[in-house]
Symmetry: C2
Subunit: 213 residues, 2 copies
């Protein structure tokens, strides 16, 4: 059991990388095992080949490993820039290839794939951090912020992840160092709030009905 952290951004010096680094270190401080994937760094191939449309195909080793990790993850964190109301292609390809039927969902009531999907992911919580150079008001009013729908309903909701939280930071391109530092502090808070384990209080065998010693 671990938490999967998936990052899709081409520039190692990007604020997306700073968010990912903060997420990973915060999770480790909370004593989680972390499976971190910087998709650009590992050269992830986003092209779903025709043969992989067959649900029973033998998957390439690296895709199979991604599938096994996401299927068993106890939490999922996604980090990417908002490019055209969608993730960059490398992360879209990770979705296309890894969030597969039989791994992340199955169909009920239709043998050919036209049925209602049923989620198979074990993760209870999905966090999505996005960055943008569009003001939020414009993103909502002009573009309708499709990333919210995509991650909340089309992907994580469909796959059975019930708790969802997304934070879009912006405008990044004109932000000051101070602003970005505050955003990283907020990232620590969001991760801590969503992934703090319940601390078990020791009982010390006291019995509320007994006499105090």
């Amino acid at each position: 059991m671990a938490i999967s952290v998936i990052l899709g951004h081409p520039d190692k010096s990007s604020f997306n990388h700073a968010i990912a680094s903060t997420v990973v270190s915060t999770l480790r401080e909370l004593s989680y095992q972390v499976n971190f994937h910087d998709l650009y760094q590992e050269g992830f191939d986003p092209i779903l080949p025709a043969q992989d449309l067959d649900r029973d195909v033998a998957l390439p080793y690296d895709i199979k490993k991604h599938c096994d990790q996401i299927a068993s993850a106890e939490g999922i964190v996604i980090i990417h820039p908002n490019w055209w109301g969608q993730p960059p292609a490398i992360l879209k390809g990770w979705i296309d290839r890894v969030i597969r039927p039989g791994v992340a969902y199955e169909f009920l009531g239709g043998i050919n794939g036209e049925g209602v999907p049923h989620g198979l992911l074990k993760a209870k919580t999905g966090l999505v951090f996005t960055t943008s150079n569009t003001y939020l008001k414009r993103e909502l009013e002009v573009f309708g912020d499709p990333l919210e729908t995509i991650w909340k309903y089309c992907i994580l909701g469909l796959c059975g992840v019930k708790e969802f939280y997304r934070r879009q930071f912006g405008v990044v391109v004109t932000s000051t160092l101070d602003q970005r530092e505050r955003w990283l502090e907020e990232t620590v808070d969001i991760v801590t709030r969503n992934f703090s384990r319940q601390v078990e209080i020791e009982d010390n065998d006291t019995d509320s009905l007994g006499e105090p010693i």
Copy 2:
């Protein structure tokens, strides 16, 4: 001047390919020059490299060619399956790499990219054909159909393409041959309706004020 037709589907025997073939032949019958790109067939690389984030970078030859074609196209037709409320990664990468600032849009009122985008595409009309295995009612009510927003507002609208029409065919996986033939007839109608040129009526030098000869 030509119409650009962009297809993103891995399987040559797919209904998406049948739609694309119908679109291309209909446009040619209407006497248009067509720039057709089957992105899988041409091995399009969807990964935007970090250096291409620089607006003034020298682009690779194939990307430059895509940019020149889309910038000058008098119409645009996109064909792809609905995968997670988004296009497949290969087509998402075409968007990331080809729909560039300086090619498809520019920013007004902000020198760093935080300003309001202004469309640069010459195309007046954009058609989008998508295929789905989800019933339309469910697509709209549960998933919110993000593809409509993405193509209409986030991409084509932002880049200055004023006329927009989208048709999603489905459920494809359980459709009959008859149904698919009717969908292809509808495709011919949609393309013809949107791209029929105005026929100029010859005047023959008649003068309504003169005497009939």
